[in-house]
Structures are given as C-alpha cells and as structure tokens.
Symmetry: C3
C-alpha cells in the first residue's frame, strides 16, 4: 500500500507543469527513500530526473517498491483541480491499476478524490554517475528563463561560454545575432539574486534553445538554477525543490559542423 | 414611453455576460413591477429567468407593458462600451423599433448613447409554479463554479448527491473518476462563505456539465448560489442580484440508462 | 559613427509598439539634431512622424547624417529582450550594413548586444507645413483609445464633430448607432485628465476607425493626446514624448458620398 501526504500540495502541481511539456508518459517510482521519476523526452534527446525525498512528506508510507505509469497531461489535469492551499495525498493499493489523488482544503470542508488509471510503460533506468564539471553557474532562475526566451526570438541554438569574467549566452538567426553577458556578482542584497561562477577551465558549448526553454518551465519551483557544464558531458540544469529534492534536466551539446559560420565568437 | 435609470450600471453588463452564452435572442419584458426576461437556450434544454424589480432602479417609468426583442450579443457589445462606474439608462419610445442605452460618467463629462434595433421574437411565457424541493444547497458561488469547471475536465455529466453529511459532486470520464465532497459548514467568519444544506430527503441527480458551466457565468453577480434539487423537477440554480431581483437557471436531470456503468456510487 | 545612449530605454520599446502595426519597414534618420522617422503605412493612407531630439539622450554622437532602413517587427523583437529599467544604446559604424542595440541592466551585471542587418528602403521625405486648424482637442489619451475601441465594435468610421459644447464621436453600423459626447472640462484635479477644446470654427469630419485604433497604440507614451482638425487637412493625432519629442499620425478625412445615409447628425 502507498500513501504519501504532502502538505504543500501546490508543489506537486508545479512539478507536473515543469515536466509535462517534455515528457508525455512516465513511470513514477516509489520506494522507502522517496518518490522519483526518470524519463527521456519523446524525441530521446533530453532526460528529466525528479526526486521528492520521503522526509519531505508529512506522512510517507510505501510498503514495497512500486512503479506507476502515468500520462502526465492527465495527471496535470487532475492536480489542477486542487486548491492552491490544499493538502494532496497520493494513494494506491498494492496491485491496483489505478492511483488516487486526494485533495483536502485547509479547513477540511472540501475533500476531493480523483482516481486515474495507470499505464504500462517500458522504461530503463539510466545510472547517472557523479561527475566533475568544467564550470558551474548558479544564477537567478527567472533571469535564465528570460535569456532563453529572448534568444529563442532570434535563433534556434544558444552557445553558453564561461570565462573568468562571466558567462555569455549567444545566438544567431535570420534577423541578426545576440550576445548576453552576465558578470559574476556575489554582492547582492538577497542571496537568490547572486550570479556565482565556479570555473575549473573555460568551456563553450552549443545547445538547442527549444529544450532549454522547456527546462525553464521549472522556474516556479526555485529562485535559483544551477547549470553544470563540461565538454564531454550533457549539461545539467538543476532546480532544487526546498526541503524535498530536485528536478534535473540533462541535454547533450550540439556538435557544430561549421563553427565559423554558426558559432558566435567567445 | 420607457425610461429605466440604473445607477450601478455595471450590474447590467454582468447580467448580459451571465446569459448571453446560453441565449442568443430574447424578449425583455417591461411592466410596472420590473424588467424581466424568460428564455430557453437555443437547444431548448435549459431555461433562464431574470428579474430586476422596479424598486431597484433610481428612476423607473414604464407607461405600458412592453416586450423588446434583442440580440444579446449585440446588446452585450454596446453595454461593454459603458464605463464601470457609469449610470445606464434604458430608453424606448412607444411603438419604436429601437432601444437606446445611455451611459453617463460619474462626473457627467462624458455622455454616450447607443441605439440598437429591436427584433420580433416569438416566445411563450412559461408559468413556473412554486415547488417543494428535496434538498436546497446554499454555497459560495465561486466554489460551485470551480467544481463545475474542474469536473468538466474529467467528464461530461455531474451527479449531485445530497445526504445528511454534505453534498457530493461526481463525474467519470475516459481518464478516470472524480468526487468532490462539501460538508455543511455554517461556522465561518463571513456568512457568504457558508455551505448550508437543507434536506428533506436524500437526492441524487445527474446533469450535463456543459449547462452547469454556462450557469456559472453569473458568478460575478453574487457571492452565493442556491441549488434546489428534487427528483421530479428541474434543478434551479439561483443567483440573487442585490436589492434588485435574481437570475435563475432551470435544467432537467438526465435519466441514466445504465446506472451501474456511468453513475458513480453515492 | 553613431552612438545614442538612452537612459529610459523602455521608451524606445513603447515607440516601436506604437508604430509597428502601421509600418513594416522604415528608415530611421539620424542627424545632429535628433533621431527621427517619417513613413507612410503600407496602404499609403496614413503617415507617421517620429522625433526624438538629441538633447533627450544621455549621450548623442552622430558624426554624419545617416539613414538606417529597419524592419520594425524585427527591431521590436530585439527591443523586447531589454529589461524595463535597462539603458539602451544604439550603435552603428559608418558604412556598416548593421545596427547594434546594447542593453545595460541598472546594476551593470548584465550586458546584451543585439545586432540587426539594415535594409535598403526607398522613401521620400514629405515636407509637412505648419498649418492653422479649425479645432484642436486635447484630451486624456486613454479616453480617446477607449472611444475608438468602443466605436469600432459598432461601425467602421467615426465622425468627429466639434462645437462650442464639446466634441462628439459618432458611428453607425449594422447593429445600430452610437454617439459619445465629451464636454470641455478644465476643472479637474489632475491636468492630464482635462478635456480642452480650442475652436475657431465648428468642424465635422469622418475617419476610418481602423487607422484611429492603430494610432492609439501610442497611448503608453503619453497621458495626453492632441487631435488637430481642419476641413482641408489631414487630422493630426499627436502624442508628446516627455522631454524628447513626439509621435504624430496624419490621416486624411473620408469624403462621404451620401451624407444623409451614413453620417450621424451633428
């Protein structure tokens, strides 16, 4: 039997909004340690990894490991019916082919239960090894979202270049070219407004803006985003979920065939 | 001659917004007692009944009974041109084939008049007898609107079931099933947040959500909605209009042919 | 070399939003006195004239007169990438076929540059002589925008009639007719809420509402609009740009062929 009670239910709505553009159907894996998901996007280019730790739930009961296949659009539809201050409980009986989302209003005067059929989804769990990165950028998530959105109005790809001075996001398209430079900045009033760059060696990598823009759907989950870059590894774009876990997006860099033509100077 | 002066003109805009989705053309009936409308929706399934009493107008002159056929979309278009604080006067000469809406800004610096052609519309006035209902639910109108909207994302019909414990709204669709239970609740800070259930006998009736959702377009008119249910009668969904009258929607229950399949358990 | 630095960069965004619906491609003319544009709309009915004086810029360097052909949609796309508090600098090298927009955040932590290709656009500069007008209306720009929007829901043209009492905006369409009368009003708390009518002789002119509604896209630039009318001249709809210049729209009146039918009484 599974019963997970989350006081801050709106968080689950935000998690679904963060991943449902990228992934249509996925298995949620439940174990004694937490509620997690790992899935490739439909074109098998990006990977999403979600973890909500058991300790973050008010009540967490998971008698045995369970993998529940869900259609994320339908799940999001049901979660949208919860109130913003509702407590959400996820319930499933052993061997059942359905899951129930229960929403309780703070005053307990309104209780809703939404039952959704589960699906059988083939999936393989990829081991993601811990790695060393050439550069790690920690910046305001809203700023990163604006940059990705702005550059997508000019071009299709973004070159992210890290040097000692800062980080540069560049693109080029039919109507022109754009460069956005952020300087390292730790002397801000609020820690979440800092831009902090840890660099072991300079790095410059190209990514599809379409995926980056999908990742930024997670912006409401955290004020801060962390971008980890290495020339041999997929980029990791991570949003921490306060006191519960994280959502991480992985995307392989594009290999530029004709660097002089398409890649802005760093 | 007809001249009806309504200080709170924005109320008339809200009335039109409440009924124009359901009814396209209708007769507004004017008599010494008030300004009223009764109309079936275009598929002849639901009935709307509106009353604005003469006492609610700052000035009310209606020399003889008058029935004015109007296209509600056009009327709404014209009313949308009034300012939110404008005084609205409805004027018509005897035997005229047009009606004039006059809008006066609070400072009297701007005066608009919009003249609209009247239409000939066949209509029969149905007598609606006072009736006894098995159960009457009085609840926040915004809550009722959210429940109808939420359930419509899952299924096409809603079963409303009243018992001593409370009222349950249920639906079922391709992606799953949903139940929303509201408990009677009279100990709230603000009287308009109460949910009050008067029950003579338990009742469980099924309605098309499409119509329920149309009725909730009247939500801006009142914080409270009253739902009167009886197994032999159409449901009445009523929104009171402060110090003026009401708007009431009538809808016959659906007869379920295969209860086990389509009707959630009560 | 050209280098124009505008501290209140958001103003340039508003200028583009004001004209890009009317004009697709246009030459921006740069001289020692200022940054200006004159262009006909694509159907050669309306004329836009923009002036941003050199004194309004924090830094203004223009070594020799320069005419830069730009696609306004693309320019607006790039300016939309600036932050609302950003400083915008327009830069071009002599003989270059591109222009660069540089955006600096107030804290200087983010610096973006957007480079756009220039176009060759044929244009003739019309001399617009100073003229005497029969009537000049100075009114709140938001009120003018609402009137144009409201009347466009009823008809296609607006008759603007000025008399001693005030100004009347009238239209007529399939669903009816509308008149909006504004009285002269100088005794208001805030000067920008005044409606002031200077009249040498009564005037009544008809204009296409479609163009008037395009002109009102400039409303965010100024609280006040000035409408100058003369029976022999195009109307001038002017929005002042604080401490910098103006944007003026010119539109020829329509000649009514059958006045009795289509022109509401004045």
């Amino acid at each position: 039997m599974l019963e997970l009670r989350l006081v801050q239910g709106s968080l689950l709505k935000k998690v679904l909004d963060a991943i449902k553009e990228l992934v249509k159907d996925a298995n949620f894996d439940c174990s004694t340690t937490g509620f997690s998901l790992q899935a490739m996007d439909s074109s098998h280019v990006a990977l999403v990894s979600l973890l909500l730790r058991a300790e973050g739930f008010e009540h967490y009961r998971c008698d045995r490991n369970l993998s529940m296949g869900m259609n994320l659009d339908n799940m999001a539809k049901m979660l949208k019916c919860s109130g913003n201050d509702d407590i959400i409980t996820i319930k499933a009986d052993d061997g059942s082919d359905s899951v129930t989302f229960m929403f309780e209003s703070p005053t307990q005067d309104k209780i809703s239960d939404f039952e959704m059929k589960l699906m059988d989804i083939d999936s393989e769990h990829l081991g993601i090894p811990e790695a060393e990165y050439h550069a790690i950028i920690r910046m305001p998530s809203a700023e990163f979202a604006k940059i990705c959105r702005d550059l997508a109005s000019i071009g299709d790809t973004v070159v992210i270049s890290v040097s000692k001075e800062g980080v540069k996001f560049s693109t080029r398209g039919d109507i022109g070219a754009a460069n956005v430079v952020l300087r390292q900045n730790t002397t801000v009033d609020k820690p979440e407004e800092a831009t902090i760059i840890e660099m072991n060696e300079p790095v410059s990598l190209t990514f599809a803006l379409r995926y980056m823009n999908s990742f930024t759907k997670a912006t409401p989950l955290s004020n801060i985003v962390t971008i980890s870059l290495s020339s041999e590894l997929p980029v990791v774009v991570e949003y921490k979920i306060a006191e519960m876990g994280y959502i991480r997006f992985y995307l392989a860099p594009k290999i530029e065939e004709d660097e002089d033509e398409t890649k802005p100077e760093v």
